[in-house]
């Protein structure tokens, strides 16, 4: 029986998918802007991770899979050549107004993310969705900490600029607050 198999590993893997895959799909969604593609990407990454799960789970499985998802989004962009075609006009049906203020909040967030480069987006998502430290992000994206700081600062500035015309004062303020908090 090889690594990544066995009832314990299966149980641990299934528990991880059940509890963390929603967040990973959100992660991929914020990077690529397409719900279905995000689900496919995360599923593909998890399926590949399964056979090495015995090793992956020992460390920080979420960090490993999140980094693999970021890479897979990059691969998807290169292969599917759909960069910047993220459907911001068609809001996913799961954006429940009750759970997330209003649908256009999500639209504004996605629209602002769309104007970032892939790396900037990855940094913002890791910092704000996953609450990773700058050192963590640097490690996961193979960047220097100083580069992470600069990238984050630049990304937030871009988001603020893109949100200037947005009716969503809240998000605009949020980007400023985020910048100050970092």
């Amino acid at each position: 029986m090889g690594i990544g198999s066995g009832p314990d590993v299966d149980e641990s893997f299934a528990a991880f998918v059940a509890t963390r895959s929603g967040r990973l799909v959100a992660h991929a969604y914020l990077l690529c802007g397409d719900t279905e593609q995000a689900r496919d990407i995360v599923q593909g990454v998890l399926v590949r991770a399964y056979r090495r799960w015995g090793r992956i789970e020992r460390d920080d499985p979420y960090a490993y899979v999140a980094a693999a998802v970021a890479n897979a989004v990059t691969d998807w962009w290169r292969i599917a050549h759909r960069r910047y075609e993220t459907p911001t006009a068609a809001v996913p049906e799961k954006a429940g107004a009750a759970a997330f203020g209003a649908v256009d909040d999500r639209q504004a967030l996605l629209a602002a993310l769309r104007h970032l480069t892939r790396r900037e987006r990855a940094v913002i998502v890791l910092r704000y969705l996953d609450d990773r430290t700058e050192a963590d992000v640097a490690h996961m994206l193979q960047m220097r900490v100083g580069t992470v700081k600069a990238t984050c600062h630049r990304a937030l500035r871009k988001m603020r600029r893109e949100l200037q015309d947005s009716p969503l004062d809240g998000l605009r303020t949020a980007a400023r607050q985020g910048s100050q908090n970092r």
Binding site: G2, V17, V25, A26, L141
Partner: protein, 215 residues
């Protein structure tokens, strides 16, 4: 007036409203893929052992002629159509890459730029359907480190580090990546059946010429 939210809250809300994947389905897919991989690895190992054993027996067999320099059957064997005829058509593999591949004008490509590369050895009705292209992305200035289970082959061509992905998220597409002048280049192609296969030397030629600015 909307309540103020911050990026943490906004992203958390996206995550909170995103349903998880079906764990049993993902687990089943993972097991299936592992099984397929094991079968493939076993088949490859068996084939290697048989080939090795056959070669050893042929060498050790008394009275057998000494090993000849004649080419054994390989994956790169000459195509099956006649090549000994004095009027044989040149095979794609026998063409110089410069005579075989031409690059079309670059077009905007979803925020980057891409050029289709035409393989003139292909029948004309198949040229457009065959994926072979060079993407130039001036927005990305470094090669990102992949931590997925795909291990790239690392080459150095004309002093530039090139990463070669023969499998990836989309396993049909192979690609080479390199950075030159603060621009990421991605060469993508799909493996083709003989006699139109794209060899490693063809890929190297395209990369070399591209790095030199001649292609």
């Amino acid at each position: 007036m909307k309540p103020e939210i911050n990026l943490h809250d906004a992203m958390d809300a996206v995550a909170a409203t995103t349903p998880p994947l079906d764990a049993s389905d993902v687990l089943a897919r993972g097991k299936r893929q592992r099984t397929r991989r094991q079968v493939l690895l076993t088949a490859c190992t068996t084939a290697t052992v048989i080939l090795g054993l056959g070669t050893a027996l042929a060498v050790l067999s008394p009275g057998s002629p000494p090993p000849r320099q004649a080419a054994p059957p390989t994956a790169d064997a000459t195509p099956s159509y006649p090549t000994t005829s004095p009027t044989a058509i040149p095979t794609p593999a026998s063409l110089e890459p410069a005579d075989r591949f031409t690059k079309r004008r670059e077009k905007p490509f979803n925020g980057a730029f891409a050029s289709d590369i035409i393989d003139t050895s292909l029948p004309s009705d198949q040229r457009d359907a065959s994926l072979l292209r060079l993407i130039r992305d001036p927005h990305t200035t470094t090669l990102t480190e992949h931590v997925d289970d795909v291990t790239p082959e690392r080459l150095r061509i004309s002093g530039i580090q090139v990463r070669l992905y023969l499998t990836g998220s989309d396993e049909d597409v192979q690609q080479a990546e390199w950075v030159r002048d603060r621009t990421l280049y991605v060469l993508q192609w799909k493996p083709r059946a003989a006699p139109y296969q794209i060899s490693e030397s063809d890929i190297r030629w395209m990369i070399t010429e591209s790095i030199a600015g001649r292609f």
